[in-house]
Symmetry: C2
Subunit: 387 residues, 2 copies
């Protein structure tokens, strides 16, 4: 297989973007990535998007968006794995480039979530859970993650204050990210005083509904060299993909996320790396409990120690292993299809040393973990500055 | 890149399957393919499905279906390109196996279309067109294809009788396919007497709404040899993917399908083949005019000669180049996400010499062409008996 490099990123400011449609947001991010990479054509476009059908009444994004970019004709593909759609778009592109079918691929993620009302958005997001065994009975994602949190609390003594500490950290990081939806400092007290959504998750334990798009350009290391960028060469050295049972009722142990663990193991094996070698990490903090559980699942901390790690500042911007320097889904926002691509854009930015005030000093190895539903699918990618 | 072989297929009987859900249909086809291949585990599962969100209120099929098969953990991915979702599922799997990321992949397609009423099904299918530039103005797919037919008639003198001849041929073939939705002989007179849906397309010029699932197992040629099947080795030698402008208004020439032509050119180039070398072909006859236009686009006939070719029997089961021996979408049925996979299953069956009464004698090279929307995306795969 061929070595694959990230040579450009494109991000738009996430938020409630009333004035922008799915296609305009997407084109803005895609053009930014192509400009950043210094390329004007690609061999393929991949698009991660969870549910343009339910959120925007529009499927068939491959045709829509290739055309919107003036590239009609180019091979294009939409992939979906709920909130892990962005990570899956990178996986598909990685297979194309590493395997030799395509040289240069534009990897994108997008979601337009605010053109439907709240109930319809909740329904659309709920289609990432098992509709016959979970949704039919009335539960939605805050409830599913609340159950995971309850188990984690009972098993490991995790507290509401520790959950809140995740939100505090990620909002502090988001203050330093110009693309973040919220530039809002919050305290543990703010989180605990916010509306209870599903016990023990308060409103400020939850990531928001967001419009957004993100893009990357990936290519072979040979082509990357030809492009002549002055940035350090950043390679994708590991790609892991896994599933877990969809319905929580079918899982062996609700205190951990086996699909995330499997995806991470596969990515580490491909990269020949271990968790302790990482310098910077983006994980899927759709709820505060998710950050705690994913940092355990990818091996940063032993089971049960993810919560105290946040308390102790180990995952803060200047801690032992910074987690979600971008602000995470919690503060940067969570346009579900775009999230997995935006995570990788953040890791590439960090490894290029271009993250400004939120720069993790000396970072040369990073990881991005993206997750669908309540962990029913997951992708993990490892990026490294080429030595 | 590594050589890739098809080692198993699984088909369910297509139809209005009131007693089967999306997941039960899918599992039936998937298990049939695994059994046919003689494998009990795979490295990845790909799933082509157009809109489980709008048709069944369920996204995130990767997690749902891996779990349903008792394979939770396995890497799985859903892809969507409207009615070309099945072909795209094969493309993604082909890249994984040819490129070396996965050895054995279960390739699947599924659509449950009859759990919503007719208006909702029409809306869901309509999301494959440009919702802002086409759908908003009230047009749906019969209308879009009727416009293509009108142009073809004006440009080339194609007649309603020639359109009807496609339906007659494909229904005759479908009579010989036990999996077909319709076992119904129709005449040119029947087609012309059926309800006018969108001038010049009558009801019997249109493919139906169908529930169905189909599956393939693909692997490396080395692994295929180890499996020790007595069938001829069937390799996938070409894979082409392309887009076209989504809105018909943006196309240069409505009398031809440029996206299909591009996808075919890419597949022929990879396989080192020419159209005249093909022995059997499945094309995307969602409407009768689509078969005429796609056979021209893949180079079987010059522009304008696709209609007379049907008239002359060139594409009949025992004609010069049999097209849609399975009965095509028209008679076999069109469960949109499953269609592209079912087409390849038919070509493999033909090349194995296992097509029974609809066998094309001596076929060793075949092609399957799958299309999204009004040709906004297309996949073409070439299969060959290894010499």
């Amino acid at each position: 297989m061929r070595d694959v490099a990230v040579v450009g990123i494109g991000m738009i400011d996430f938020g409630e973007l009333w004035e922008k449609s799915l296609r305009t947001m997407w084109a803005e991010a895609a053009l930014a990535a192509l400009t950043d990479a210094g390329v004007d054509s690609v061999d393929m476009v991949t698009i991660g998007c969870m549910s343009p059908g339910l959120f925007a009444g529009q499927e068939h994004l491959a045709s829509l968006l290739a055309d919107e970019l003036g590239m009609a004709g180019v091979p294009a593909a939409r992939v979906e794995s709920a909130c892990a759609s962005g990570g899956l778009a990178l996986r598909m592109a990685f297979a194309e480039v590493a395997g030799g079918l395509s040289d240069t691929v534009l990897v994108t993620g997008v979601e337009k979530m605010t053109d439907v009302d709240g109930a319809d958005a909740t329904f659309a997001l709920g289609t990432a859970a098992d509709q016959e065994w979970e949704g039919f009975h009335g539960i939605t994602f805050p409830g599913l993650y609340a159950m995971l949190a309850q188990v984690h609390m009972q098993r490991h003594g995790t507290t509401s204050e520790q959950l809140a500490a995740v939100a505090v950290k990620n909002h502090a990081n988001g203050l330093l990210n110009p693309h973040a939806q919220y530039h809002l400092k919050v305290s543990v007290e703010d989180v605990l005083a916010s509306t209870m959504v599903a016990d023990p998750l308060h409103l400020l334990d939850c990531s928001p509904v967001t419009d957004g798009a993100a893009a990357l350009v990936i290519t072979t290391v040979e082509r990357a060299r030809e492009l002549g960028s002055e940035r350090p060469m950043v390679k994708i050295t590991g790609s892991g993909l896994a599933t877990d049972t969809m319905a929580l009722a079918n899982r062996n142990d609700l205190s951990q996320l086996d699909g995330v663990r499997l995806a991470a193991e596969r990515a580490y094996a491909m990269a020949g790396r271990k968790p302790e070698e990482l310098h910077v990490v983006e994980v899927h903090d759709c709820f505060t409990i998710a950050e705690i559980m994913t940092t355990e699942a990818i091996g940063l901390f032993d089971p049960g120690f993810g919560a105290s790690a946040v308390d102790k500042g180990l995952t803060s911007l200047h801690g032992k292993i910074p987690v979600n320097p971008s602000g995470g889904l919690k503060s940067k926002g969570h346009p579900v299809g775009a999230t997995g691509v935006a995570q990788v854009a953040e890791i590439a930015t960090q490894l290029w040393g271009e993250a400004g005030q939120r720069q993790v000093e000396g970072a040369t190895i990073g990881l991005a973990q993206n997750m669908g539903g309540s962990g029913g699918s997951s992708t993990v990618h490892i990026l490294e500055v080429a030595s």
